[in-house]
């Protein structure tokens, strides 16, 4: 029984992860697209840091870098909000150089332009709109799904169509 159900459960699990990644990527892209028309205001940076973080990988641990930021801004209604998003496509990487220039700009006390969602003013970003990086999550999800669909198709393919083909072969005495 496990011969069928275990691979089937694993296949469903891996495909579910791929679908969740794809949905999250599409949602992120949609939000980035809508942020082009968000309201602008001025935000004040309260805190920023560029500290190494450890991430578990297949081969052990690796050090990654990311600018962590906190800023506050006021919406049109006069309500105060706190934000920490730089861009929809900003993600940690292993190279500190990728983040150093960003960290130098985003120092506490600086005032920067922020874009916030007028219908949900707590949603905000310092860089609005769709960039190349906005597609990263979708690309990774598609790579994951192509793998999680193809490998089982290569391994567990029923051969009943092959049996029918062999039956069509005409052999004469």
């Amino acid at each position: 029984m496990f011969d069928f159900w275990l691979p089937a459960a694993m296949l469903a699990f891996f495909n579910l992860i791929g679908i969740l990644l794809l949905v999250a990527g599409i949602r992120e892209l949609h939000l980035a697209w809508r942020s082009r028309r968000w309201e602008e205001t001025v935000a004040t940076i309260e805190e920023s840091s560029l500290d190494p973080c450890k991430r578990k990988t297949k081969h052990g641990e690796e050090v990654i870098y990311l600018v962590k930021l906190q800023y506050h801004y006021q919406d049109r209604a006069g309500d105060q909000h706190t934000g920490n998003r730089i861009s929809f496509s900003y993600h940690p990487t292993k190279q500190i150089e990728d983040h150093q220039e960003l960290f130098d700009i985003l120092q506490p006390g600086r005032k920067v332009q922020v874009y916030y969602n007028p219908s949900r003013p707590d949603q905000c970003t310092l860089v609005g709109g769709v960039e190349h990086g906005s597609f990263s999550s979708i690309i990774i999800a598609l790579m994951w799904l192509s793998m999680s669909i193809s490998v089982p198709l290569m391994t567990y393919w029923p051969d009943f169509s092959d049996q029918l083909l062999v039956r069509s072969m005409k052999v004469m005495p």
């Binding site: 700009i105 600086r110 190349h132 597609f135 990774i140 598609l142 062999v166 005409k170 004469m172």
Partner: protein, 166 residues
């Protein structure tokens, strides 16, 4: 992305396209073979070939050799069907060999434009999926890798897109 990386990823995509095309050619030829003319062929040899696989098991393949005539010219063929290849199970290749050994002649389908191109079975065996899926995977990963690397460049331009007021 510099020119060397572009060339590398273009080459990788082309390899994927070549693998996919190889698989698709089998599909197109397999279905075209349904309309190919037929000739009576003589079975010269039919046997089950087995060999050790890398995983410690045994893999199997039916091997056949047949001769046939088209417009007075003699031809020799070895193809059972498009996409047919080695399998982990002995059942299908054994069935093919048993069927071929049950007679002395077999119906051969040949390409009217290139009569040396022939097959015993029209249609496509499921083995063709390996090349098609491998080609798709190769293309998706090559293109995906290229896009992800070019995204790094977009991250480099992120500081310039932040508007500092004071």
């Amino acid at each position: 992305m510099n020119i060397y990386v572009k060339v590398l990823f273009s080459a990788l995509v082309l390899i994927g396209v070549a693998i996919l095309s190889y698989g698709m050619t089998d599909v197109v030829q397999g279905y075209s073979a349904e309309k190919w003319p037929t000739a009576k062929g003589d079975i010269v040899d039919a046997r089950l070939r087995s060999f050790a696989s890398g995983k410690g098991g045994t893999r199997f393949e039916a091997k056949v050799k047949y001769t046939y005539q088209v417009n007075g010219a003699n031809y020799e063929g070895e193809r059972i069907g498009f996409g047919y290849g080695v399998t982990d199970s002995q059942e299908l290749p054994q069935k093919i060999v048993n069927k071929l050994k049950s007679g002395k002649q077999v119906e051969v389908r040949y390409n009217p434009k290139r009569p040396e191109d022939s097959t015993l079975i029209a249609g496509v065996f499921s083995g063709v999926r390996f090349n098609i899926l491998a080609g798709i995977l190769w293309i998706v990963f090559s293109l995906g890798g290229a896009i992800l690397i070019s995204n790094r460049r977009s991250r480099d331009s992120l500081p310039a897109r932040i508007t500092v007021i004071e």
